[in-house]
Symmetry: D2
Subunit: 468 residues, 4 copies
C-alpha cells in the first residue's frame, strides 16, 4: 500500500492508473488461472465440477494483497504467493478442484499473460481516448486550415503556415501511432509453455492418456482454447524471446511521443509573449482567482513529463530485455515488469489528458497574425526576390545578371528605412515592372502557405473514418 | 578524421561501418541532391542540359570532408557546407545548372532522406547477413532437435530440453525481427517538404507556371519521381513527426536484442565449467598459441556489447524525439543523428558477427549430458511422483491419500543414500507396482523434453523459406 | 492506493519501501511545513501560540491521501491539495494560525525539501545496512584471504586468485560508495526561496518591519533555523539548478552498481556447474522441499534487477534535469520526482538484500579448487616459461635464444600427452637444470596469487573501522 | 577513418574532438606503455639503455591506425594490435628492449589508464573554458544585478527578478560543477594490476629477486613511479570496480547539465516574441545576409543537443558498468569505452561553446521590461493585497475581516476596466488610507525582486576568485 500517485502527476487519479494498478494486475493473474481451468474443462482434461470452486476464488477483492506483496521477494515474483492463496480458496470449496489450478503451467506463463491482459485493457481504453482526440483535432485542423501563423524552424520564425497545418501534423503522428497500436492490440500473444517452454507436463500427460495422438497437437489445441478465453492470440512460447514485449512497448511509446510533440507546441504557444493558444480551463486547475493571468498549462506539462518518464521506462525495459538468457532470465525479466506497467499506465494517462486538452484548446488567430508580423517583410524577401528577380532581369534597362541583386537591395533598404515596401519597389524599379497592388499581394502571408490547406485535407481524410 | 573504431570493437573493420561512415552519409546527401535534379529533369521543371554538370559533382571523393566537418557547427548541420561546395562544382561545370540544385528544398529534406538511404543500404546488408544466420541456425536446430541438455530458468537447472529447442528460440527471435526489419526496409520514407513542410516554393512556382492545375498535385507528382529515383516511399512530410525514425530504430533494436539473447546463452555455455559450446576459432582471434585453453568468446562479447550500446543509442534517439517542436526541432532533431547512425551501424555489425558465429558454433553434446546429470535424479522427482503417485495410491495396500507421499519419501531417501533409484522404488513399493526398467525409462531425460522436437520443426518451417 | 509492490520484487515488503512510500513523502511535506512554522516562532515572526494548532495538523494519518492524489494533477503537484487540507486543519484549531503556514514559501520549496528528507531517512537506513554488509564482507575476505580459486577475465579462466581477494574488490567498491554516500547525506540541502527563489515575500516583509537591517540577512537567518529544524544544510536556492539532486542520485547509484557487481559474481558462482558459492537459504525462499537442488539465487537476482531499474531511474532523472528552465521547469522538475524516489527506494532495498546475502553467503573452497584445475597446467605455462626459460637459456648445452622455446614445447607436449609435467621437464631438460619438486612448487596455484592476501589486508584496513 | 563529425554538430571541429580522437587515445596508450618503461628504468628493474628504443616507438603518427582498428575486433580491444606494433618498433631499434614493454601488465591496465589520461587532457581543457565562461557570466550578473525582467515558473510569468539573478543561477550551477570537476581531475586514478589485478607477475619477479622484501611493497612503489610519470594518482586496482569511471562521468555530466539549463533559457529568450537575449553573431554562423531576421541560436542548440547526447552516453556507461563481473567484464567494460569518450568529448565541446556564447551574449533590457508588463498589474495583485489589506482592515470604517477582500475587488475591477490602479485605489478606499504615489511605488516591479541583487553578490563572490 505504498503509492497513491503523489509523485506521479501524470497518472494520479486517472482511469489508466486503475486499469494498471497492482489490484488490476493481480486480478489479471487470477483471470489467467481461471481461464486455464475453464480451458481444461472445455477441452475435457478437467471435470465440469471444478467450475464453481474456481469461480469462488476468482475475485481479487477476496485476497490480502499486502501479504502477497510482502511474500513477493521470496521467489522474486507475486504469482507464487497469489497462487498459493488461490489454491487454498479453491481447495476449501472443493478439495478435488485444486489440482487443476495452474496445472502444467509456470509462473512466467501467468505473469506474462497477465501483463498482456493489462496491455489489452488499458490499451483499448487508450485507443478510445486517442480516437476521440484525433477526431477533435481533425475538426480543429479543418476549422483553421487557412488560419495563418508563423511556422517555426529551430524555434525561429521561418515561413508562414496555417494553424490547421500544424494541427494536421499532430493528427498524422497521433493517427498513425494509434493505428499501429490498434494492430498491436489485436495481436497480443498468450504466453503458455510450462517450466522451460516445452509443455513437458502436458506432453507427458497426453502421451499417457492419448498415446496415439501427437501430444503437441493436443497441447496446442488446449492452448488455443485458453487464448480464446482471454481474448489473446495463441503464439509460440516467448519466455526468453521478448520481441512481443518490445512490440507493445514501442507502440505505446510512439503514442506518447506524438503527444509530447503536441504538448511542446502548446507550451511554446501559451507563453505570455506568444499567446497563440491557451489550454482549456477547469475549476481548480492551473489557475487562480486572485491571479487571473495564471493559467498554468498543466495538461501539456503532464504530457511532456509523461514522455520523459515513458522514454525512461522504455529504456529500462530494453536494459532488461537484452539481459535475457536461457529459458528464463535471472533478472532481465524481473526488470521488465514495473517498467512495462508504468509505460502502459503512462500511455493510458496520456490519452486521457490529450482528450481533455484537444477538447478545449483555445486558439487566438489575432495573436498568430500579430506574431507573424514581428519580423515584418523580412520574411518575404526571399519570395519577392524569387518572383521579381527574373521580371526585372528581363527588363531591357537592366544590365544582365543584376536583376536579382537590384530587387534585394531595394527591399533591404526600404525595410531598413521603414518605407512601404510595395511603394518603394514600384517607384525604384524600372517603370511598369511592378505595381503596388501586385507587390502587396505577394507580401500577404496568407497567400504564402504553400500546400498547407491541401495537406490538412489529405491528412484529415486519412484518419477521419478511423477516429469516429 | 577523428575516429577509426579503436574504442568500438563492435563495428571496427566491419562492412557496416563503411556503409554508415561519414563518407557514406555525405555521399547519400549528394545522392539525394542529384536525385532531385534528375527528378526535376524528368518532370520537366529543369532542362536535360544540367545532367552533366550535376553528375560532375556527384562523387563524395571530390569533396573535402574535413573542411565540411569543421563548418558543420556554423549552422549545426553538415548539409549547408556540403551544398555550398556542391553548388560551386556544378556552377563551375555549368553556371546555369546551379539554380536547380536543392531547388525548393530544405536542409532537413536532404539530411533525413540521406539517413533513410543509409538505413536502406546498411539495412539490406544486415538483412542478408541475418538470413544467412537464421539459415545456419535452422540447420543447427534440426541437427540437434533431440540433443538433450538441461534447460535453465533463472540460470538454474530446471528441466531437460534439447539444444535444438534452445536454437529454435534464437531462430524465432531473429527470424521475426528479421521479417519485421524487411517490412520496414520496404517502406522507408522520403522526406520532402521544403522549409516548413508545405512545399511553399514549389506551390508558388506551379501556381505561376500552371495556374490551372492543383499545385500540390504537381508537387506530389514530382516528389514521387524523386522517391522512385532513390528507392524510397513517397510519404507525407515528417519534419517534426518522428515516428518514421522510431519505426526504423525500434526494428533495428529488435534484431540486436535477439542477437544479444543468443550471445548471452553462448557466453554462459562457453564457461570452462559448462563447456557446452565453443565459438568458432580463427587465426588471431580470442586465442593464444601459448595458452591453448584461451578461446575468449569475442564474437559473443561483441554482440553483448552491441546490445548495451544499441539500447543506449535508442534511448538517446527517443530523448531527442520527444523534444520535437513546431516545424523543426531546436536540438531534438540534432540529437537523433549520431544515435540513429550508430544504431544502424551497430545493427549491421551485429549481423556480420552473428553470421560468423552461427557458421561455426561448436556443440558438445557430451558436456551437455554431463551437466544435466549434476543434480542427478533430483531433477526427476517431480516426474516420478506425478507418474507413480496415482499408481501407488490406487494399490490396495496403500492407505488413501498417502501414495504420493510414499513415492516422494522413498525417492528422497534413495537419492540421499546414493542408492539406485529404480531398484529402490521397485523394492520398496508394494510388489508389482513398478519395475526397474519402467522407472529407468521415466528417469531418462531424453524422454523428458516435452514438445522440444515438435517446436523445432514448427519454428524451422516458419523461417526456412524466408532465410534462403 | 495503486501499488503494493507486486511488480517490484526488489523492494516489496522492505523497510526502504515504507520509508519512501507516498505516506512517508506526504509526512515529510508536513514536516517541512511544521518546521517552517516552528522556525518562524523561533525567529519571532510568528507567535508561540500557533504551535498547538500546527501540531494538530502534523500527522499524515489524519489526511485523506486518496483525495490528495486525485487532486494532484490539477496543479501537477501534491503539495497544493495537501497544503489546503493542512490549512483547514490548522484554521479549525486556531483561525489565527493558518496565515503562518507556508508563509512566503512556494510548492517547490516544500516538495524539494521533503524529497531531501526522504533521502536522509532512507539514506541513513541504507548506510547502516551497508556498513553491516561491508563488515560481514571484511570478515569473509579475511577468512578466505588465501582460499585459492580461478580468477576470471571476460568470464574465462585467467590466473588464480584467492576468494578473499575477490571479496576485497566488493569491499572496496561498496566501502568507497558507502563513504561517499555518507558525505552526501551529511550535506543534504534545504530548498527555500519562494516563488522565484528570491524570497521576495520575506524581503518585502522585513523591509517593512525592520527597515534598517539587510533583509536578506534576516531571510537567511530564518532559513538557517529551518535547516536546523530539519537536519538539513542551509543552501542557496536550487529551484532550477539540479546539481544537488544529481549528487544524491549518483551517489545512490554507485551503491547499487557496487552491489550489482557482487550479485553478478554470485550468480555466476552459484550455477550448478561452478557451485563455488550458495546464497543463504531461508524458509519459503527460492527453494523447494520437493526439489532440493533448487536454490534460486533470489537475493542476487533482486540485486541485479535493482541495478537495471536504478540505471533507468537515473537516466529518467537526468532527462528531466536537462529540461530545466528559468525559475522552475515545465515538466523537467516533475519528471524527477518518481525517478528520484524509486532510486532512493531501490538503493535502500539493495542494502537490505545485501546485508542478508553477505550474512550467510556459503563458500565452497573444494569446488573452487576443482574448477581451477579444469584447464590443468595450461594455466601455468606462462609462469613455468617465465621462470625456467632464462635458467635453460643460461645452460651451456642450449643454443642461444632457444631456451624459452624449449621449455614451452616440452610443456605443451607433456600436457598434450597427459604426462606429468614436473617429471617430464626434469627428464627432458638438460640434467640438473630443474627438479621435480621445484617444478611442482611452481605449479601450485596457491603460490601463484600475487599480492592477493596483501590486497585483502590493505582493503580491509581501509574500511574496517568505518564499517563498525 | 569513419567519422569526421558530420553528424555531430556538437563537437565537429572542436579542440575537444582532437583531444579525444582515436589518435589521441592511441597516443595515450603509447604514453602509458612508455611511462611504464620509464618507471621500470627509474626503479631499477629495467636498464637505462632501453630508453632510446622505447622513445623511437612513442609517436602515434608512426603507426597505421586503420590496420590497428581493423584488428581491434580480434581480441575486442585496440591495445593488442597496437602493442604488437609497438613491440616490433622497439625490437627493431633494440631487440633487448622489447621484453620490458608492457612487462607484467594487462590490456585493461593500459586502456583504462589511457582513458584516464584522455579525461585529464580534455578535462583540463574543459576546466579552463569553464572558468572563462563563469568569469564572463559573473561580470554579466554584476552588470545586470538590477535589470528587471519577469521570472518564469512552469514557463509562465511568476514574479519579477533581475536578469543578473537569472545569470547568478547559471554561475552557481556551472561554478559548483566546475569545482567538482577540478577535484575529480586532481584525483584521476592509475589502473595497474596485471591480468587479474594481483600484480602476480611482479610479485613472482620480486619474490625471486628480492626474497627478503614484501613483494607488494615493491610493486606498489614501482606503481607509484608510473603514476607520477603520468600525472595520475596511484590507486588500488579497479578492473571490475568501476566507481572511478562513474565518478568522472557523473562530474562531466553535471557540467553539461548546467550548460543545458543556460541554453534552455537562452533558447526561450531569443524567440522573436520574447527577444530578451540574442546569441553573439559570427560570420557564417546561424544567420543569412538575405534574411537579416535569421539568427539561429546554434550555440544554444548545440548545448541542448549536447546534454541530450551526454545523458544518453552516461546511461550507456551505466548499463555497461552494472554488467561487471569477476576480474574483467565480458562486455560491460567494452560498453564503457565509446560512451565514456563521447561524454568527455561532448563535455569539452560544451565548454568551448559556452565560452563563446557567454563572451558575447546580447541582453535587451527594454524587451525584458516590455515582456514583464504583458500581464500588467495582475502580477502585482498579491503584493498590493498583502500590503494594503491589513492597512484597510485597520481602518475604523471597514467592517472587520473585509479589508483584504475590498482591496482585491477594487483592484480586479480597476484592471478589468483598464483604469489606473493607483488612482482607483486612492479614490475607492477610505480617505487617507493610501496615496497614488505610495501605490505606484509598490507597483514598480524593480522594487519587487526580493533578494535578487544580494544573491548575485553572494554567488559572484563564491566563484569570482576560482574563475580567474
Amino acid at each position: 500500500m505504498y503509492d497513491f500517485g503523489l509523485l506521479n502527476p501524470v497518472w494520479a487519479g486517472t482511469r489508466a492508473a486503475e486499469l494498471t494498478s497492482d489490484t488490476a494486475f493481480a486480478q489479471a493473474m487470477l483471470d489467467v488461472e481461471v481461464g486455464w481451468c475453464a480451458a481444461q474443462v472445455e477441452f475435457g482434461t478437467a471435470p465440469e465440477s471444478i467450475t464453481g470452486a474456481v469461480a469462488a476464488a476468482a475475485d481479487i477483492d477476496d485476497y490480502d494483497l499486502v501479504a502477497i506483496a510482502n511474500a513477493t521477494p521470496d521467489g522474486a515474483n507475486a504469482l507464487i504467493p497469489l497462487l498459493s492463496a488461490m489454491r487454498d480458496k479453491v481447495a476449501e470449496a472443493d478439495p478435488d478442484a485444486a489440482v487443476y489450478v495452474h496445472r502444467g503451467a509456470t509462473s512466467q506463463d501467468i505473469i506474462d499473460t497477465a501483463l498482456m491482459l493489462l496491455a489489452a485493457r488499458v490499451g483499448n481504453h487508450a485507443l478510445q481516448q486517442l480516437k476521440t482526440s484525433v477526431h477533435q483535432l481533425i475538426n480543429l485542423a479543418e476549422q483553421h486550415a487557412t488560419t495563418v501563423m508563423i511556422g517555426r524552424s529551430l524555434d525561429q520564425h521561418a515561413q508562414p503556415i496555417s494553424f490547421g497545418y500544424r494541427v494536421s501534423q499532430w493528427v498524422e503522428a497521433l493517427g498513425s501511432a494509434g493505428q499501429h497500436l490498434e494492430t498491436v492490440l489485436n495481436n497480443l500473444p498468450l504466453q503458455w509453455g510450462g517450466a522451460v517452454g516445452t509443455s513437458t507436463w502436458w506432453v507427458d500427460y497426453f502421451r499417457a492418456e492419448q498415446p496415439e495422438t501427437d501430444p503437441m497437437a493436443l497441447v496446442n489445441h488446449q492452448r488455443d482454447l485458453l487464448a480464446e478465453q482471454l481474448g489473446l492470440v495463441a503464439a509460440s512460447v516467448w519466455h526468453a524471446n521478448r520481441i512481443p514485449v518490445t512490440t507493445v512497448a514501442q507502440s505505446a511509446f510512439q503514442v506518447v511521443a506524438a503527444a509530447a510533440k503536441l504538448a511542446n507546441d502548446v507550451l511554446t504557444a501559451v507563453q505570455a509573449e506568444q499567446a497563440e493558444l491557451a489550454e482549456p480551463t477547469a475549476p481548480g486547475r492551473g489557475g487562480s482567482s486572485a491571479m487571473p493571468h495564471k493559467n498554468n498549462p498543466v495538461l501539456s506539462i503532464r504530457l511532456k513529463t509523461a514522455a520523459q518518464v515513458a522514454a525512461g521506462d522504455l529504456n529500462t525495459l530494453h536494459t532488461g530485455i537484452i539481459a535475457n538468457t536461457a529459458e528464463r532470465a535471472d533478472g532481465g525479466w524481473h526488470t521488465e515488469w514495473a517498467a512495462f506497467r508504468d509505460l502502459l499506465r503512462t500511455t493510458g494517462a496520456v490519452t486521457e489528458i490529450l482528450a481533455e486538452l484537444t477538447a478545449g484548446l483555445e486558439v487566438f488567430p489575432d495573436a498568430m497574425r500579430g506574431n507573424l508580423e514581428i519580423h515584418g517583410n523580412y520574411l518575404m524577401l526571399g519570395r519577392i526576390t524569387q518572383w521579381l528577380g527574373p521580371v526585372v532581369e528581363a527588363h531591357e534597362d537592366i544590365p544582365q545578371g543584376t536583376g536579382k541583386q537590384l530587387v534585394q537591395e531595394t527591399c533591404q533598404q526600404a525595410i531598413a528605412n521603414g518605407d512601404d515596401l510595395a511603394e518603394t519597389l514600384a517607384a525604384k524599379l524600372p517603370e511598369g515592372v511592378v505595381s503596388v497592388s501586385a507587390v502587396n499581394k505577394v507580401l500577404d502571408p496568407s497567400g504564402y502557405m504553400g500546400g498547407a490547406a491541401s495537406i490538412v485535407a489529405e491528412v484529415n481524410s486519412r484518419y477521419r473514418k478511423w477516429s469516429t
